[in-house]
Structures are given as structure tokens and as C-alpha cells.
């Protein structure tokens, strides 16, 4: 406590020693800045730098040229398709659910319950979620067995739960609640007066949705869909728990090139795929925030 008095005096006297103290003040932020420099900025630099270096450390674009390999193009398209389908389906079902919540009592129990459940389920992903679906409609799941007993073999053609369609179904489990969370504020922004105004001008339900609520909600809906797309695009754990072979999505290709478990160990190539992924996710996220800004103009 010996030094305790000195700063108190300087504080009460304004900042007479400001010139001398300023450089020392910076020291307080140093531990944090050093930490993020080593474990956040250095990894980022390693990715960006490493993607343009070959094994000998000289500049090259060969890692990016490898992105045109057939299987990378295929997995990129797979991932875009998977993300688009789960984003659209998740957005549609999520919007319906959000609407069902929005038209109810604002202070009601149903709303609070569904909202907090959505908050929890939107986080539910990864290995546990994959297992939940395996336990339900997997080859030993009770729903599958029950259906099979009733002559409805859902795997008559292929074991699709462990292929991309199955992954899409499982993704909906977190995409729908996420949509509810993101889209409900927009629905809450719709004012009942707008409907009354439409009706007083002779418009029916169709007119209201087509010319009033629809255009107002469109940017919010589109923006939320983009967020869902980015969410699915960067996912790894869930799909990896379902599909062990073939690595059909881009995040698994990154993992493959990094570990060399399946193909060859190509750290530079892993970095190039990572850069590709970041570029796509960033582009989508920027679009999302632009649409979000547009939404907030009307719906607050």
C-alpha cells in the first residue's frame, strides 16, 4: 500500500503528471495484447502467409491452384448446396415458428418458453446432436425400427442419414431455432396499425402480405437466411460425427489436408482452403449486416 497515496493525489489535482504517466498506462493492456497477438493474430498470419508459401518457404500460388482439384471443387459445391438447402428450409420453418410465437401473447408463457428453448437448441450441435438423430432414425433407432415394422423402410434405397441429406436434416435442428431468434425481432416490429391501414384502404390479407408486410420483412428474412448459410458453411463437428468417409464438406477437407490421415499432409493447401472458406463466410456475413441495417430502418 505504499504507492497507494500517490495516484490519488494526482487524480484529485487533475492530471499534472499526465505526460509522464501516459506511457506507463499502456503497460496495463500489454498482457492482453500479447496474448491475443500470439494466439489470435499469429495463427491468422500463419494461415494467410502459409497459404502463399510452398514447402521450401518461397512464394507460390500453387496452393490456390490446387483449389481447382476436382474433389475440392466438388466438396465446395456440396457445402454450398448443403448450406443453401438448410438455410432456406431452416429460414422457412423458423419463420413459421417465429410467426406462431409473434401473434401470441407478448408476455405469455408460451412465448417465453419457446424463446428460451430456442436459445438452448440453437446451440445444440456437434457430436451429441448427431447421436440424437442416430438414436432416433439410425439403423437401430426406435423410430426407424417402428417404421420398418410397419413396412416403411426409410433406408430402402440408401442409408441417407449418413450422407448429405441426413446432414441437412440434422442441421435443421439448430438452423430453425437460430432463425426464430434472429427473425422474431423483425416480426415484433410489424405494427398492427399497418394491417388496419391496409384494411381501411380496402385491402385484404393477400394485399397486406404482398404489398405491406412482405416487402418490409423481406430484407430481414433474406439477411437471416444468409446468417444461417454462413452458420452451416463453417460447421464441422456435426457432419464429422455423421460422415467418417469421403469427407464431403469443405471443413472436413481442411481437416484432412491438415492431418494427412486420408490424403497427403499438405499444410499449405489446408491454409489455402481455409482462406477460401473465410472469404466465402465473410462475403455472406457482410451481405447479412448490410441487409440488417436496411431492416432496422423500418422495423425497430
Amino acid at each position: 500500500m505504499t504507492i497507494a497515496g500517490a495516484p490519488a493525489i494526482t487524480t484529485s489535482a487533475g492530471r499534472p503528471l499526465g505526460g509522464r504517466r501516459l506511457p506507463l498506462d499502456w503497460l496495463g493492456a500489454v498482457p492482453f495484447l500479447v496474448y491475443v497477438a500470439i494466439f489470435l493474430f499469429l495463427p491468422t498470419a500463419i494461415i494467410v502467409g502459409g497459404s502463399v508459401l510452398d514447402a521450401n518457404g518461397s512464394l507460390t500460388l500453387v496452393n490456390f491452384a490446387h483449389l481447382s482439384r476436382d474433389y475440392i471443387v466438388k466438396t465446395t459445391l456440396n457445402t454450398i448446396g448443403l448450406s443453401a438447402v438448410t438455410a432456406l428450409a431452416g429460414a422457412t420453418f423458423g419463420a413459421l415458428l417465429a410467426y406462431a410465437i409473434a401473434v401470441g401473447n407478448r408476455e405469455g408463457l408460451v412465448r417465453r418458453l419457446t424463446l428460451s428453448v430456442s436459445g438452448v437448441l440453437a446451440q445444440f450441435g456437434g457430436v451429441t446432436l448427431a447421436f440424437a438423430f442416430i438414436a432416433t432414425i439410425g439403423p437401430a433407432g426406435f423410430l426407424y425400427l417402428w417404421l420398418a415394422q410397419h413396412h416403411a423402410d426409410i433406408y430402402a434405397h440408401s442409408l441417407w442419414l449418413f450422407e448429405l441429406p441426413g446432414v441437412a436434416l440434422v442441421y435443421l435442428y439448430f438452423q430453425i431455432p437460430l432463425m426464430v431468434l434472429v427473425f422474431l425481432p423483425a416480426l415484433d416490429g410489424i405494427k398492427p396499425q399497418w394491417r388496419e391501414a391496409t384494411e381501411s384502404l380496402g385491402g385484404g390479407t393477400w394485399h397486406y402480405w404482398r404489398y405491406v408486410a412482405g416487402p418490409l420483412l423481406a430484407p430481414a428474412f433474406l439477411g437471416a437466411t444468409l446468417l444461417l448459410f454462413a452458420n452451416a458453411f463453417s460447421a464441422y463437428a456435426t457432419v464429422n460425427a455423421l460422415i467418417n468417409q469421403g469427407q464431403p464438406v469443405i471443413s472436413q477437407q481442411i481437416s484432412g489436408a491438415l492431418s494427412g490421415e486420408v490424403g497427403t499432409f499438405e499444410p499449405g493447401f489446408a491454409k489455402a482452403i481455409a482462406v477460401e472458406m473465410v472469404i466465402i463466410v465473410t462475403a455472406v456475413t457482410v451481405l447479412y449486416s448490410l441487409l440488417q441495417r436496411r431492416t432496422s430502418r423500418w422495423l425497430q
Binding site: 492482453f32 489470435l40 495463427p43 457430436v127 451429441t128 439448430f174 430453425i176 464441422y236 463437428a237 464429422n240
Partner: protein, 280 residues
């Protein structure tokens, strides 16, 4: 005319009610059945035998699994403490002394949200290789990376806590009474933002226990990686552990929303972001 109007509105309200009930029932089935199915699966008897808790009871007989559970719990504790020690003093100090640095700190803390975990792991790979040869290759080193993952959520909830108190006045009052900086932090700031600290701790525990991507790619067997591996050998046990970890996460999150009451908007943002990392 008024009667007709009321009739139209009555029909519309009825339609709306039917629509709501259909939507809620369908959503309820889709979201509850898989969780129930896990419980069902993990209590199945072999063949025609009756329901049994054998899978649950045998959790302790898998040494790898026990090791993974212990490691994940330790990781959760270390990550949470390290995050608090790193973040709370920095945020208070920046607020008091370096207000111009505040937006930069915020930007840095939110940055991990924009980097998918599978991408971050690519950059961490050589760093962990180097650490493994020069310092330690213990699984507990994962907590270093987890602190980075936790930063955005921890920052948000701590920021909300600090914004709700007058840090400057409290600190100046304490300092003028002769308190040192440690006393100010420990006995003035921390008690005043205790619920925000608790919040950020819950979020960080939930995130660490659910983390799979980084551990799997750095070849460490944490809880989720072990559950996934065990799933190929003994589905019953691994699903039992999965249910247990899920229940634990649910409890943590219910506690979280309990402490977060009245700040619905913040909670919403946090939650929708945590899951992205957890899954990533």
C-alpha cells in the same frame, strides 16, 4: 356491417389458432423426439431384456472416457479462470486509463466470431506443434486456444456488467481512501459485477464442454472427441455420456438465463453466437 366484420375477424382468429397449434405440435415433435430417443437408446437392454441402466453404470469402467471427462472439466475450469484473469483487469484498466483503446479491445474480442473454429485450428496447428516439442503437449494446453474462443461471449457479458456500474467513481472513491489496485479489483469491481462474471463463466464452461473441432484436429481426446470415438465401439455408453453432457449443458444454460433475466436482448445475441463456436 359490424357483425360481418366481427365474423371475418373471428374466422381469422380461429384460423390463426389452428395454425399456431399445428406449428407448435410439429416443432415440439421435431425437437423433443431426438432427445427422448437418446434416453431410450441409452437404457435399452440387450436383445429382449427389459430396460436397464447398465450403459450408464458402465461409464466408470472406460478409463479413456473417465480421463476425457476429467480433462474436459479441468479445461473448463482453467479456461474460465484464465479468461477472467486476462479480461477483467484489462477491461477495467482500459475503461479507466485508456478509453481510446476501448473500441480496439472490443474489435479484437469479437474477432474470433468471424473466424470458424476449423479455420483457426489451421493456424494453431504449427503453434501447438512447436509448444509440444518445447514446452508441453498436455491436453490442458488446449485451454490457451479455448480462451480465444471464449473471448467474444465473455467480453459481451463483462462489458454489460461494467457498463451498469460507474467504474470510474467507484475506483476513485476507493483509491482516495487508500486502496491499492488489487483491493480495488478484488473488493470493489468484482463484487459489483459478480453476476456478469458468473454469466461469462457459465458461457465459457458450456463452450469448453461442447468443444470438438479444435481438440479433434490437434489430436487431443477431450470429452466430445472421446464420445465420438466410443460411439463406434459402444453406442449405448457413448450416448449415455452424450445425454449426461447435454443435461449438464442444459442446467448451465438454464442457470445462465436465470441470471440473465431482464436483459433478454443481450442473452439472445450471446446464445446465438455461442452455438456457432460450439458447432464450428
Amino acid at each position: 356491417m359490424a357483425a360481418v366484420r366481427r365474423g371475418v375477424q373471428g374466422t381469422r382468429r380461429l384460423k390463426l389458432q389452428v395454425f399456431r397449434i399445428i406449428v407448435f405440435v410439429a416443432a415440439g415433435l421435431f425437437f423433443l423426439v431426438p432427445i427422448g430417443a437418446m434416453v431410450e437408446f441409452s437404457t435399452r437392454g440387450v436383445g429382449d431384456q427389459p430396460r436397464t441402466l447398465a450403459a450408464w453404470q458402465s461409464i466408470g469402467t472406460y478409463p479413456d472416457l473417465v480421463a476425457a471427462i476429467t480433462a474436459s472439466l479441468e479445461l473448463a475450469a482453467i479456461t474460465t479462470i484464465a479468461m477472467l484473469v486476462l479480461l477483467v483487469p484489462t477491461m477495467v484498466w482500459v475503461r479507466l486509463k485508456l478509453p481510446r483503446l476501448n473500441p480496439i479491445i472490443e474489435f479484437i474480442c469479437l474477432l474470433p466470431l468471424t473466424i470458424p473454429a476449423i479455420v483457426l485450428v489451421v493456424g494453431l496447428f504449427p503453434i501447438y506443434n512447436w509448444m509440444g516439442t518445447n514446452f508441453s503437449d498436455s491436453i490442458l494446453t488446449l485451454s490457451i486456444a479455448y480462451v480465444v474462443l471464449v473471448l467474444p461471449y465473455a467480453y459481451r457479458s463483462l462489458e454489460a456488467g461494467l457498463a451498469s456500474i460507474d467504474v470510474k467513481t467507484l475506483t476513485e472513491a476507493a483509491r482516495s481512501l487508500g486502496a491499492g489496485w488489487f483491493t480495488v479489483m478484488w473488493r470493489i469491481i468484482v463484487p459489483n459485477i459478480s453476476s456478469a462474471i458468473l454469466n461469462s463463466a457459465f458461457l465459457s464452461v458450456a463452450l469448453v464442454l461442447g468443444e470438438y473441432t479444435i481438440a479433434n484436429n490437434l489430436l487431443y481426446n477431450n470429452l466430445q472427441v472421446e464420445i465420438a470415438m466410443l460411439g463406434r465401439a459402444n453406442a449405448g455408453v457413448s450416448i449415455a455420456v452424450a445425454v449426461a453432457s447435454l443435461l449438464f449443458a442444459f442446467v448451465v444454460l438454464v442457470l445462465l438465463s436465470f441470471f440473465n433475466r431482464g436483459r433478454g436482448r443481450l442473452q439472445l445475441v450471446e446464445l446465438q453466437q455461442v452455438m456457432r463456436t460450439e458447432r464450428g
